[in-house]
């Protein structure tokens, strides 16, 4: 990509001098009769006399790990399921997200909030993986991970404040709906540009590793980073996995492969064996898991966490397979590019909520009565939080100018009073009553 221009002759000389004693591999020449040269770029490659291209189709697709089948029966005999209390908690969290999704999707359709994105079909991936992380672990999300927030303790009030961008929204009314974030829960605030969080997760993981090296009293921590299979086509995905591998960062990359990036099916997204097949190319431990099997996701994430912390740290890639049952967002009608029957089929045939429900019912810890009680309780809780959040005032207008820099710059102070002046001179043009403190908050 670039011309490595050395701008000074002495620099050039220095470079050669300095690198010679670093060239461990490249300085080795071929020994007579050796099976291969230790090329610096591939030290273990053997010579071959057969001119053969590697063809992806000769490799079997990576298998998908599952421990519970579609009927809710355990198929991995070596797997020990979590305690019923935890399984019920995870089930409840999946229900919470899915019920909230339905209500908020409708609310957007009624024009009561500007935008929403549901995560139907992916509750298992989110809740299951989050349940295997420690609360000190740092999380980066894409946007379809409400289940991660719920599992870590984000409340309906928190969700609703953000969705309605009211004065209790910790994002201070600046972000689109579903761009949640929480310092207390160690989840970085979501941003819309896809895949940007992936190299950031590598850097954050490196920071955690360095901080523990400096202070061994800090517990070992990992970073978990979520993204969709579409985002994995971005350059940032490549950059992130490569740098995480070369710097040995304790990071778990969790790809939600749900078959679609808005309207684009995976056939138009990539031609390799999904996202997982790329992991080994970067030298990263990789696994594919059934995203509709919440126990499998949890188990895989638990093991990945142990692996990520081993020997000073390393990245791990998990590809969780699922199907995006929901539309991409409230701005999308997915039946424009896929058959309704296909969606209905996935919804009915296999989804993470019904699979865990079958397991719980088989164990006798869940039944129809409990199900309907839980559903009605959750619905009430959501609607209560919804109504309260909708009533709340919007954040103070000065929040528009703050947090650009650590302190307000003279330019920002003057623009703040300029806006206040405009509102004062044209009072009929602006309704500022819904904002906390009205125009007075614009006093620099």
């Amino acid at each position: 990509m670039k011309l490595p221009l050395r701008l000074a002759r002495t620099t050039m000389r220095w470079a050669i001098l300095r690198t010679t004693h670093h060239r461990f591999s490249s300085s080795l020449s071929q020994k007579p009769g050796a099976a291969g040269i230790r090329f610096p770029g591939a030290v273990n490659s053997q010579f071959t006399n057969s001119l053969t291209f590697e063809h992806p189709s000769t490799y079997p697709a990576l298998p998908t790990y599952r421990c519970v089948d579609q009927d809710g029966s355990i198929v991995d005999k070596s797997f020990s399921p979590p305690a019923d209390s935890l399984a019920l908690e995870m089930y409840d969290n999946m229900l919470c997200v899915s019920i909230m999704d339905v209500i908020m999707f409708e609310a957007q359709r009624q024009g009561r909030l500007s935008f929403y994105m549901t995560g139907q079909g992916e509750e298992g991936t989110c809740v299951g993986s989050a349940s295997a992380l420690e609360k000190e672990d740092v999380i980066f999300c894409q946007y379809r991970e409400a289940g991660v927030f719920t599992q870590r303790g984000f409340t309906f009030d928190d969700f609703m404040s953000q969705l309605f961008a009211n004065k209790k929204d910790s994002g201070r009314g600046r972000n689109m709906p579903v761009h949640y974030g929480s310092k207390a829960l160690n989840i970085h605030t979501i941003s819309s540009p896809l895949a940007t969080q992936i190299p950031q997760a590598s850097g954050a993981a490196y920071a955690l590793k360095m901080q523990r090296l400096t202070d061994p009293n800090i517990p070992p921590r990992v970073v978990a980073c979520y993204f969709g299979e579409g985002a994995a086509s971005e350059g940032d995905f490549h950059a992130a996995l490569n740098i995480a591998a070369t710097r040995s960062c304790p990071v778990i990359f969790i790809c939600r492969n749900n078959g679609y990036a808005i309207s684009t099916p995976t056939l138009e997204q990539y031609r390799g064996d999904g996202i997982a097949s790329r992991g080994t190319g970067y030298g990263i431990d990789t696994i594919r898991v059934d995203g509709n099997d919440i126990f499998a996701v949890r188990e895989v994430t638990k093991r990945a966490r142990e692996l990520a912390l081993k020997d000073g740290g390393r990245p791990v890639l998990i590809e969780a397979m699922s199907y995006r049952i929901s539309h991409h967002s409230t701005s999308d009608d997915s039946f424009a590019y896929r058959a309704r029957i296909e969606v209905e089929d996935w919804k009915r045939r296999d989804n993470p909520i019904t699979r865990l429900r079958k397991y719980l019912e088989k164990k006798g810890v869940w039944n129809e009565e409990k199900e309907s009680a839980a559903r009605s309780r959750i619905r009430k809780e959501v609607l209560k939080a919804f109504a309260e959040a909708e009533k709340e005032k919007k954040p103070a207008m000065r929040s528009m100018f703050e947090d650009i820099y650590e302190d307000l710059t003279p330019e920002l102070k003057s623009q703040m009073s300029e806006l206040k002046g405009i509102i004062e001179r044209y009072p009929n043009e602006y309704d500022v009553s819904e904002f906390e403190g009205g125009k007075e908050s614009l006093k620099p």
């Binding site: 011309l3 950031q200 920071a207 070369t246």
Partner: protein, 404 residues
């Protein structure tokens, strides 16, 4: 002699002939492939860095700077060029704070411009390290590290190659604090260093000065030092700053500019311009390398036209020190802005607009605000000396402003 000086001033002592080997033909006389000036020149004489008033040639003058803390002013100085002062600053930052990490392409062996020489050996390969060749990756990595409390100093090998990281800088680094709101997290620990500007033969991709692309982004601080003393003080400020900083180092000055640099840890204020040379009849505003050109043009113009010119170094180009600039122009009534990068929508456009927008300053103007900057072209190899503002062009603008 003048030919030699010539090559040092713009070219940093580089000869492309080192890449050419021609055993059969003798190339004599050797035709220079980079910018040079005719011997008849009176204005366009290459900068003599050993005498320019821009640099502090004595320890006494270096320590007389009132912006320096008392303990530094009572200390000593060391002769350094700009890459050595950057190295000194990085070394002090790494020594002072364990959370400082330094990384980029080829940083570990000392960097292609020697700015990180000896630092990996001294501070360990965990803190000073090479990254894979991916600008978006290494800036994203730096943002993530800063988000988790590190002071991440990332190097982009040339400013010309920052564009793959543009998304990370614009959409992520600049907006982090804003979007996190009351949660209060930020990536102020991030400093992105990059060599910039013309060097005599850098052509399209080793010459760019993209500062105005960054000054259009709220949330970033954009800094460009003019000298070794500044490079050290401003870089230490950038690293200490709780806002993400873009630190642009004029690569032509890495070896060429040498001065007495105060020993020890000191910072210089960000977003604060510096009046280099007080005057009453005209204000010149610039930053980075062209300040040497301006200084030479001022000397000639003052002598020829019998006027007194005030020279201002912006130092931080965003958020910039509007007050110092307006105050100066209110006093002088005339203003010329000089920068290397393209004139269109450059720093000069913002400075000129702010001057005419300020009622009091507008009323004091006695001539239009003039801009001397790169033409609206790419940096072509053979034409660099006609593109970068030279002494004649600055002199001409001064003359036009005074005679208006």
């Amino acid at each position: 002699m003048s030919v030699l000086k010539n090559s040092i001033s713009r070219g940093g002592g580089v000869r492309l002939s080192q890449y050419l080997s021609s055993p059969t033909t003798k190339l004599a006389p050797f035709q220079r492939l980079y910018s040079s000036t005719p011997t008849s020149a009176r204005l366009n004489i290459p900068t003599d860095f050993s005498t320019t008033p821009i640099l502090h040639h004595s320890s006494q003058s270096a320590l007389s700077n009132h912006e320096l803390p008392p303990e530094i002013r009572n200390g000593t100085t060391k002769r350094m060029n700009l890459f050595q002062s950057v190295n000194d600053a990085l070394s002090l930052a790494l020594a002072a704070d364990e959370s400082v990490i330094l990384f980029g392409e080829d940083v570990a062996f000392g960097g292609v411009f020697r700015c990180s020489m000896g630092l990996a050996e001294r501070f360990g390969s965990e803190r000073v390290f090479n990254t894979p060749l991916s600008e978006q990756g290494l800036v994203g990595f730096g943002i993530g590290a800063a988000a988790e409390g590190m002071k991440a100093v990332a190097e982009i090998q040339f400013a010309d190659y920052v564009y793959p990281a543009f998304d990370q800088l614009v959409n992520e680094a600049a907006k982090w604090r804003y979007r996190d709101g009351a949660e209060g997290r930020h990536v102020g620990g991030l400093t992105v260093r990059m060599p910039c500007g013309g060097v005599g033969h850098g052509a399209l991709y080793h010459s760019q000065s993209p500062e105005s692309l960054f000054t259009h982004i709220p949330g970033l601080r954009v800094i460009m030092p003019r000298s070794p003393i500044q490079a050290k003080g401003l870089l230490l400020s950038a690293i200490a700053s709780n806002d993400p900083c873009i630190f642009m180092e004029p690569k032509a000055l890495y070896r060429a500019s040498v001065e007495q640099v105060p020993v020890g840890h000191y910072t210089l204020p960000l977003s604060k311009a510096e009046i280099l040379n007080p005057g009453t009849d005209l204000t010149i505003i610039s930053y980075g390398h062209p300040l040497y050109t301006c200084s030479a043009a001022i000397a000639k113009a003052e002598q020829d036209l019998g006027i007194s010119i005030e020279l201002i170094d912006l130092r931080t180009v965003y958020p910039w020190d509007k007050e110092t600039v307006l105050e100066s122009v209110r006093k002088t009534g005339r203003c010329v802005v000089v920068h290397e990068s393209m004139v269109n929508a450059g720093i000069g456009a913002e400075v000129a607009a702010s001057i005419q927008e300020d009622k009091e300053t507008f009323l004091r103007l006695e001539a239009p605000v003039m801009r001397v900057a790169g033409w609206s072209v790419h940096m072509a190899l053979m034409f660099e000396r006609f593109n970068i503002p030279d002494v004649a062009r600055v002199y001409d603008a001064i003359k036009k402003a005074v005679e208006y």
